[in-house]
Amino acid sequence: MSQRLAECFQNARREKRTLFCPFLTAGYPRMEFLPRMLLALQESGAGCVEMGFPFSDPIADGPVIQESYRVALERGATVEKIIGAVRHARESGLRIPLLAMASFSILFRYGTEDFAEACAYAGVDGLILPDLPLEEAPPVVRTIGIRGLAASLLIAPGTDPARRARIAELCTGFVYYLSVSGITGERSALPPDIVSNLAQLRKLTDRPVCVGFGISQPRQVRSLRGLADGVIVGSAIIRRLTEESARPEPDYAQAVREFSSALAVELRKNEPGNGQSQYTR
């Protein structure tokens, strides 16, 4: 896997830190803000960033991310523009790992080899492959691996243990554990089995494990500290950007910086009783 990504998670594990991994839709609300928003996330203490390539038919996404994809595409987001914006962010000092989430519909039509080469050129460290199950993933993982990109595949609450092990084995980036069975979007409560599932998963594999889907509140983020290598928050940030766009003088970089800081800090609290996981006995 990419050196930057590997080192980031190795360091975090050695220092017993759980990384905060915010999500952005590339091109939402506008492409020109993407480099500054990525840098703002880095300043806010994010450990790595997940960036969604907008797609016309995202079946794993709830209304908030769907709408951001629609708007981004309507405003002309293309692979080329996204690659340009990411490259610009890297040249402007973005050092944290960046993972791109892209539907296989995009990879297949663009050409998996070409897409991977473009991402690697821009400074993307890996791809999250949300609609490639174990059965279809191996040739894609291999092809993007040749271009220096790590692959992250999904494990769902309903995935049986033998299959979890095989998926984790195939991941060259982090393992993406879905906290809920369902689509992306904020949930008031996370399922209680998340603790045992994450513990079991970390016994099953040495690969870093990040947990996402349904996580939005500081309390939820805090409760996952120590249970996973990273915590992903998506819809809540996109919703914050949508709110910002309604303001007279929107400052998107500042909005994500504030939002991300408030959540990232939850994973750095070490005082007992303060940062204590609600699940820790």
Partner: protein, 432 residues
């Protein structure tokens, strides 16, 4: 890394361009799909991991069911006693005279219970739902025929039912919305995208992401992730098997040509499949030509699309160069879909079936022609097949035979056709 296949071997499945450049199809086989759900290079399973447990459970249950004589007996019972099968193969004397060529026969799926072929599939998948112990079914629908067929089976089998339907389709197929609600189903209006079949399918898949444990998704066509294209084809194959037996009985041999409309392609797959190895039977699939060949004005995925991935399967898709799904149009809500079943992609490439397009205007004309010539009002979807069949029959000899799969009845379309006729638009179609 040693377990991974070589890049060369998998190359066609990595890029649309490579697939077309590298793939040299042989003759079509009926021994498809393979264990991974591929028809040649098409098909497969491209869905989030969340759905994999349910998809695999369905595969396993279907494998058990099709070897189980009790399941076959149940299926036969409901097809016969509930759906009213077999449906007639009817000689369309006046349509034959009008066309002035081959003898035209109509496979009367419009006479099946609920008024379309969709019931064949929903009975089968309804029985699978019971076998899996699930209590709720969901469905997407365009014209509303699959929604009605799902709601019907849910009522008959005591299952809870939610149907997703684009709000544009709810408007143009309001009769079917009323029928679904009467049958006890909840109809959810989908307001995303173009508010048609593709968007309804997205919403049904999203529902299933969160409800897989107790819900079965009855996909209505030969699309979606494996094993759906295979299961739906198998359940619809009763159309082709009956047609074959009835042809023998009526004229002592198989027909020379079979014509069926293709949206997702379930009625076409059902009537084509039993004839795949009878290569002297010509198979014609008719896509929606809409209002012209400009992007967004038609829904002819096989004629104008490229290999791509949509709704869990690799097939011909109408999409842009970056994989974003294109806008499509058809006067017929059931054909208004940017993808097509992977087996049709396979039949196209192997040239086992030929595909053509019929415009909105031609379909609307054929809608009236069949009504006046034969006393049968076809669904607007089926009217596409009728329009092409009249053209095709003219090129054939009088001792030849052509079968049209009359996939559904047109009551649901009467309001919309009346509206279109009153609007006097030179290019009739959906307004905007």
């Amino acid at each position: 890394m040693t377990t991974l296949p070589s890049t060369n071997e998998a190359a066609p499945r990595l890029s649309s361009r490579r697939l077309l450049d590298n793939y040299k199809p042989g003759p079509a086989s009926c021994d498809v799909p393979d264990a991974k759900g591929y028809f040649g290079p098409y098909g497969g399973v491209y869905v989030p991991e969340t759905l994999m447990a349910a998809v695999q459970q369905l595969s396993a249950e279907y494998d058990r069911a099709r070897r189980d004589p009790e399941f076959q007996a149940q299926l036969d019972y409901y097809l016969r006693e509930f759906a009213g099968r077999p449906t007639p193969l009817y000689f369309a004397r006046r349509l034959t005279e009008l066309a002035g060529g081959a003898k035209i026969y109509l496979k009367r799926e419009d006479l099946a219970h609920t008024g379309a072929h969709k019931i064949n599939n929903t009975i089968g998948q309804g029985l699978l739902t019971l076998r899996m112990g699930k209590k709720r079914v969901i469905a997407e629908t365009g014209a509303g025929q699959h929604g009605v067929a799902t709601a019907t089976v849910a009522a008959a089998f005591g299952l809870s039912c939610d149907v997703y339907m684009g709000s544009e389709d709810i408007r143009r197929q309001s009769l079917n919305v009323f029928r679904m609600r009467l049958l006890g189903a909840r109809v959810a209006a989908v307001e995303t995208g173009a508010r048609t079949l593709k968007d309804a399918t997205n919403e049904a898949l999203r529902d299933w992401m969160g409800s897989v444990a107790h819900t079965h998704y009855i996909i209505g066509s030969v699309v979606g992730p494996h094993p759906f294209p295979r299961i739906v084809r198998d359940f619809q194959s009763v159309i082709g098997k009956e047609t074959r037996a009835q042809s023998q009985h009526l004229f002592g041999r198989s027909p020379d040509a079979i014509v069926a409309c293709v949206g997702g392609g379930s009625n076409a797959a059902g009537i084509f499949y039993p004839f795949i190895e009878e290569t002297n039977v010509k198979l014609f699939g008719v896509e929606a030509g809409g209002r012209g060949w400009e992007p967004g004005r038609h829904a002819a995925s096989l004629l104008r699309g490229q290999p791509g991935v949509l709704h869990g399967t690799l097939s011909y898709i109408l999409q842009n160069a970056e994989g974003q799904t294109a806008d499509v149009h058809s006067v017929s809500a059931g054909l208004d879909y940017p993808g097509v079943g992977p087996e049709h992609a396979y039949w196209k490439d192997t040239q086992r079936a030929q595909y053509a397009a019929v415009s909105d205007d031609e379909a609307l004309e054929a809608f009236g022609v069949l009504a006046k010539q034969e006393g049968i009002i076809p669904a607007l979807e089926s009217a596409h097949a009728v329009a092409f069949a009249i053209r095709q029959a003219r090129t054939m000899k009088k001792d030849q035979t052509l079968v049209i799969n009359l996939s559904g009845r047109g009551d649901k379309d009467c309001m919309e056709v009346s509206r279109l006729r009153e609007s006097h638009a030179p290019n009739a179609g959906k307004g905007n």
